[in-house]
């Protein structure tokens, strides 16, 4: 937990370690390779020449707004849809020609929490065990094990229709893990969940990743990609528009953001006048706050603080923050996510 910062992101050092792990493993062929895939539905180009790779044991966040093509990419990689062109492979197996063997090694949890509402949690997991060709006894014991692990052991004998949204998602995730897949696809795993359930699910996903599972995660939540993914591929309108670690994407903007709140609107106004030449001012919610985008590096922060010091304007709070992925996305696509 010492890796977590206040806002739920990883501290810089931890992020570096995670990236090292990704770099180290890059000598081994990628767990997922996607080469120029395209898919068209009528007039709509859902995917228009998308390529990326996911190294073994790492997490790729596929980030984009609704309709960007994320789910189509997941469907192609999980063998439920064939691309119009291009090739994709999972663990070196072609998703088209070797679909059956790909299915042995992957797990899929979708945004619709695809479990049978009339069955109990334990029956759902039993069924998944049988359909992934575990024996009767293995299906039962694995079901029990997963219910405990996902905090559903008390609810295991209840019909899923009595579950809360968060419980359903956890069961859905458990269902994807029954046969211990080495590559996991999570299609918007937390969409529609309340913040608390979302954080709970993030913890569970974090543990899976620590076990060495390769994960492809689609999301429209930047915080989610920031927190869980080693690398992020941003797609928009069926094309990859940016790729890199969270830090790299943020560095592309090349700015740092200074946020300050003052005791009264007059001081804030004075500060605005002083700071305007130093960077790009954005007006905050009320008259007492300001937000200033400056070039990355200590110099610009020192300049700003110096200017306030000389004018004897002391803010109530003063914070320096890195740009969020939201800022990045806004810059890349001209639109906000969510």
């Amino acid at each position: 937990m010492e890796c977590m910062t206040e806002n739920g992101g990883y501290a810089a050092g931890c992020r570096e370690n995670r990236r090292d792990r990704a770099t180290m493993q890059s000598v081994i062929p990628d767990a997922i390779e996607v080469d120029d895939i395209a898919k068209q539905f009528g007039e709509v180009r859902a995917l228009d020449g998308v390529s990326f790779g996911v190294a073994r044991g790492t997490v790729l966040g596929l980030l984009g707004p609704n309709g960007a093509g994320k789910t189509t990419a997941v469907r192609i990689l999980t063998t439920t849809m064939r691309p119009d062109r291009g090739r994709a492979s999972v663990l070196g197996l072609d998703v088209d020609h070797d679909a059956q063997r790909v299915r042995e090694s992957i797990g899929l949890a979708g945004q619709y929490a695809a479990v049978d509402e009339s069955l109990t949690g334990s029956e759902n997991l039993w069924m998944m065990g049988r359909l992934t060709h575990l024996s009767q006894s293995a299906s039962r014991s694995r079901s029990k094990e997963l219910l405990v692990r996902f905090g559903l052991d008390d609810a295991g004998d209840r019909q899923v229709k009595t579950y809360s949204g968060g419980m359903r998602r956890r069961l859905d995730l458990a269902a994807a893990l029954v046969h211990r897949p080495s590559v996991l696809f999570l299609d918007e795993p937390t969409t529609g969940l309340d913040p608390r359930s979302r954080r709970g699910l993030w913890d569970v996903i974090g543990e899976l990743v620590a076990d060495g599972t390769t994960l492809l995660l689609t999301t429209q939540y930047l915080e989610e990609a920031d927190r869980l993914a080693d690398r992020i591929v941003v797609i928009d309108q069926g094309q990859v528009i940016a790729e890199g670690t969270s830090a790299q994407l943020k560095a592309r903007i090349g700015t740092t953001i200074i946020e300050a709140v003052f005791a009264d609107p007059a001081s804030a106004e004075g500060a605005r006048t002083l700071l305007a030449p130093l960077g790009e001012l954005t007006d905050a919610d009320d008259g007492r706050a300001l937000s200033l985008q400056v070039n990355t590096g200590p110099r610009s922060i020192m300049d700003a603080v110096g200017a306030l010091e000389r004018a004897a304007i002391e803010p109530l709070t003063l914070a320096v923050r890195e740009p969020t992925l939201d800022d990045v996305f806004l810059r890349l696509t001209g639109q906000r996510v969510e």
């Binding site: 063998t79 059956q100 299915r103 992957i106 899929l108 979708g110 069955l119 069924m127 359909l131 060709h133």
Partner: protein, 264 residues
């Protein structure tokens, strides 16, 4: 290099059978958890029995036979055809909920989802037909042949119900949701059941309708079942009915499996 390969098994007939049994069990569990599905499947035929026996029955003349004896084979056919609509609804629901998407990403046999569904519907039909026999005896139906022929008649009817489940499976896989599946299946079901010999002799229908009614599967099966329970020559009727049933399973089974592989 690829640890998963050690676990890879080819999809053999054995796996297909086992996967189908798993899905069958799942669907039967769903049925027991939602008893209203079975109740709805039985209320309608019971109402039809009462209506045709006591309301319309007096006005319908059937040469050389008590109407109630003529009626019951038609009621059984109506029950299994109406029941088969739930195959369409069930599959449409599984598609809508995303369950089929998940099934398609599993190393299971693709046909197992459909076979498991139609199997479960067959089990439900056994229950419904048994109940309709009891209701039939209560309102005065009497088998005119021997027990063996009666049993053969019921088996033929169940086989027909199974074949109709495959017809409606195709509807379910083509519908965007359960409501549409039901709405699309209804006219087909109604035409098949009512424009047939199920409730009235086809001779009373206008010529053009009679041509259709005499050459469609419900009439073929009902005529064969009637021959089995009322007596008279049976062989050619049963051969025609079995031919229809086998043909429907082959054609619609193939269509359903092809469709299943394509649905998203």
């Amino acid at each position: 290099m690829v640890p998963a390969r050690a676990r890879v098994r080819r999809l053999t007939l054995g796996w297909t059978v086992r996967d189908s049994l798993t899905v069958t069990k799942r669907n039967l569990l769903t049925l027991t958890r939602n008893p209203e599905l079975v109740v709805f499947a039985t209320i309608q035929p019971v109402l039809f029995v009462l209506m045709f026996r006591y309301v319309f029955g007096g006005a319908i003349q059937v040469p050389g036979e008590d109407y109630v004896n003529f009626l019951m084979p038609g009621i059984w056919a109506q029950a299994v055809v109406f029941g088969a609509v739930s195959t369409a609804v069930g599959l449409a629901e599984d598609l809508q909920s995303g369950l089929i998407e998940r099934f398609r990403s599993l190393p299971m046999a693709p046909s197992a989802v459909l076979v498991g569904r139609t199997n479960a519907d067959l089990v439900r039909d056994v229950f419904v037909i048994a109940l309709m026999c009891v209701v039939g005896f209560l309102v005065g139906f009497r088998n005119q042949t021997d027990a063996l022929a009666f049993l053969a008649a019921l088996l033929l009817m169940l086989a027909f119900g199974y074949s109709m489940a495959w017809v409606f499976a195709v509807f379910g896989l083509r519908a965007p949701n359960a409501e549409t599946a039901q709405a699309a299946a209804f006219p087909v079901m109604a035409v098949l059941v009512f424009a047939s010999s199920a409730f009235v002799p086809t001779e009373t229908m206008p010529g053009w309708l009679q041509v259709f009614a005499d050459h469609q599967p419900v009439t073929a099966v009902v005529d064969a079942v009637r021959a089995l329970v009322l007596g008279g020559p049976t062989a050619s009727y049963v051969v025609t009915a079995v031919a229809w049933i086998v043909g429907i399973v082959v054609v619609f089974g193939t269509l359903a499996v092809v469709r299943y592989r394509r649905v998203t």
